[in-house]
């Protein structure tokens, strides 16, 4: 029961984050673009479809599975899209008394999803890849809202408060669990699967109740939401100002001067080119709206797809996993996680700037390729993340050697040597503070790539992977 409960709780969390972005997206599309009749039930119907597809294709080779998933997702998105266009659309404003209940329901769903997302984020190892995976849709939604706010003439609908609340709840949930003291006290509760599910549910219901109360009753809650609205409008105005400022930087032909005219009335300032571009003819505007909706819906489909895959993976993987499987633990304090995140973000920024500089033919003194010790640490972090994803998370009190012994007990025999080499080099880097030879680090990274691919290729097959399969994976590569 514990395993099933864990799988269910994690699936709820995984679904929660997707649901939060989706609900915000639906709200946005409905209120700004004018698609009043988005059949949410049909869109959500993709879940059993994806589930069935995964079950049907789980014996295929990985590449075939990926191709099947991609084709199925595209097909489903296309059918949904055509049905949407043929369905009862219209130019309804979206935000009105008739939609108040719907907005409230969406807001409640968003809050529930936000809490689930916060809990999930708190349990993740903070790494750019994981965070990007969690935020990829949310950032797009935010950008979309800002863009529409900048191009539109009407104020944002009242539902924007729910979107703001969504982000607020998201970060509050993450911060609450990441804070060291609260996180430590909650650790047992989060590890208890039914406790986690009940906690997430209670938090979601509480958030929904708070937002509903704010929507239907005047008072300080309503005032708080209005303040959020004002902040939102301010952000939108700032974005608009940014566009105008960027537009001012664009070169434009100089206006012909009229000789002999001095001190006359100033000529009317030409509208910024970007704003002009945004004031498109009606046909183009509709086409642009169509493309925007298509883009959002494709993302929406992808969200649903990810949700279905996460649910299926957790449920199926959870049923197969051994008795030692546990959920991901909270590693370190919130401050520590934040510091790591910022450090990595800084390195990524440096790498991006260096890439841009290389692209433009210049070289900036921002450091060379990653140092050998950084390569080794990165490989070891990847190993930990991969092991956790495979149901072998490292206990916080485990040393690298203890974890290696743990891995050896459960990992295929062919990989033991590679794990030992990775661990030995990591120990030398971390505890001897001695940079390894560059050649050794590169060799280790190459070996890790082989091992990682081998493990990925072996996943999902019946029985433990063997050396022969490793050779196959290597050959395919």
């Amino acid at each position: 029961m514990n395993r099933a409960g864990t799988a269910l709780a994690v699936a709820i969390f995984a679904a929660g984050i997707e649901l939060s972005w989706m609900s915000g997206l639906l709200q946005l599309a409905e209120s700004r673009v004018g698609l009043a009749g988005i059949p949410a039930a049909w869109l959500l119907g993709g879940l059993p479809f994806a589930f069935a597809l995964r079950r049907l294709t789980h014996r295929l080779r990985p590449r075939m599975r990926v191709a099947a998933f991609t084709a199925g997702g595209l097909l489903w998105a296309a059918v949904s899209f055509s049905l949407l266009l043929a369905g009862p659309g219209g130019a309804s404003p979206g935000a009105g008394p008739a939609n108040a209940g719907r907005e409230a329901a969406l807001a409640a769903a968003a809050a529930l999803g936000a809490w689930g997302a916060g809990l999930r984020l708190a349990g993740l190892t903070p790494s750019p890849g994981r965070l990007l995976a969690e935020f990829q849709f949310g950032v797009l939604v935010l950008l979309g809202v800002l863009l529409l706010a900048a191009t539109g003439t009407e104020p944002l609908p009242g539902a924007a408060g729910a979107v703001v609340s969504l982000f607020l709840c998201f970060f509050l949930g993450a911060a609450a669990l990441r804070a060291r003291s609260v996180g430590l006290s909650l650790r047992r509760a989060v590890f208890s699967p039914w406790g986690a599910a009940a906690g997430a549910g209670a938090a979601g219901i509480l958030s929904a109740a708070v937002i509903l109360a704010a929507a239907v009753t005047p008072g300080w809650l309503q005032a708080a939401l209005e303040a959020a609205e004002r902040a939102w409008a301010l952000a939108a105005e700032g974005f608009r100002a940014l566009i105008v400022w960027l537009d001012g930087l664009l070169p434009r032909p100089a206006a012909p001067s009229l000789p002999g005219v001095v001190g006359g009335p100033p000529a009317e300032r030409a509208a910024p080119a970007v704003i002009e571009l945004l004031r498109l003819p009606e046909a183009l505007r509709r086409a642009a709206a169509f493309l925007v909706v298509a883009f959002w819906l494709a993302l929406f489909a992808l969200c649903l797809w990810r949700m279905a895959a996460a649910v299926a993976h957790r449920l199926l993987g959870g049923a197969r996993a051994g008795p030692e499987e546990k959920t991901e633990r909270l590693a370190g304090s919130f401050g520590e996680g934040l510091r790591r995140m910022l450090g990595r973000a800084w390195r990524l920024l440096g790498r991006g700037i260096r890439g841009l500089a290389a692209f433009f033919g210049r070289r900036l003194p921002l450091g060379g390729p990653p140092a050998p010790e950084e390569i080794v640490r990165r490989v070891y972090r990847d190993l930990l993340a991969r092991a956790a994803a495979c149901g072998m998370p490292r206990e916080p009190s485990q040393t690298p050697r203890e974890f290696l012994a743990h891995l050896r007990r459960r990992a295929p025999e062919g990989l033991a040597g590679a794990f030992a080499r990775i661990t030995a080099l990591y120990e030398a880097v971390r505890y001897a503070e001695t940079p390894p030879a560059e050649e050794a680090a590169r060799r280790l990274a190459c070996e890790w790539r082989l091992v990682r691919k081998f493990r990925l290729a072996a996943e999902g097959r019946a029985g433990p992977p063997t050396e022969r399969r490793g050779a196959e994976g290597e050959g395919r590569r």
Partner: protein, 319 residues
Amino acid sequence: MSGNGGETAQVRGAAERFRDNLAGVFIGGAEAIELLFIALLCEGHVLIEDVPGVGKTLLARATARSLDGSFRRIQCTPDLLPSDVTGLHVFNQKTAEFEFRPGPLLANVVLVDEINRAMPRTQSCLLEGMQERQVTVDWRTVPLPRPFLLLATQNPLEWEGTFPLPEAQLDRFLLRLRIGYPDPEREAEVLGRYQRENPFEALKPVLGMEDLLRLQALVREVRVAMPVRGYIVALVQATRRHPEIRLGASTRAALGLQAAAQARAACHGRGFVLPDDVKALALPALAHRILARTEARLKNRREEDLLREILEELPAPVE
């Protein structure tokens, strides 16, 4: 000394020679032998505590014989006086001067057998020698020979006629060993080995004092990275915060644990300390220095159990 260079190889070789030498006499106690050698490398003192007849004194004597240094034995009794341990000044009628006649404490290896049978004032006279490597007799301070290693044994079961060691003295022991009963195969091997002759008689010294001093200097160069140092500090701090511990580990305990971890790393041929070294030595180095509360004792939770619990909860310094 940060790699697996020649220095660590020397320490490792010496550890293997020492272990092989003692393994012929003390059968089935590889861990205890390793801990003893670690204490030798740190110049720390060892308290061997166990029930009678498991080889405490034999282990201590075999250790002393494996070293090419001076060895003295003090058999503690309630009427043992401090001057019997440290030495005393006697009047030489020929020279008409007081002469210092050194006690058995002035040796490289001193075996204090059944230490808890000595009276507290006699036990206390060991404190200065253990910590400061010197003894003060009357008006004169006499340095102890280097290296100086004190091996003490005690039987934890007997209470009558014994004087439990005070915390201050326990804190001066780097490690506390518990040998335990051997498993049936090992016990049968002991019977076979000791049937005709005593292998102790054939024991030869394998490590000179000069070599030992050189190895001690090498061990002090073993690298302790900041994360590992932080781990030691966190461990010691955790013993002070634990609700079931009345007296946590001291700073001297942290120093001792670090030194012992360095020695263990060198014995394993490493030039740097791993968290595993700290974990492996946490119980022998800390368990005798902390005191569990009465509530914990009533629940039959010993200091070792509490330390194990702390080690299971304490995050290791990994990514």
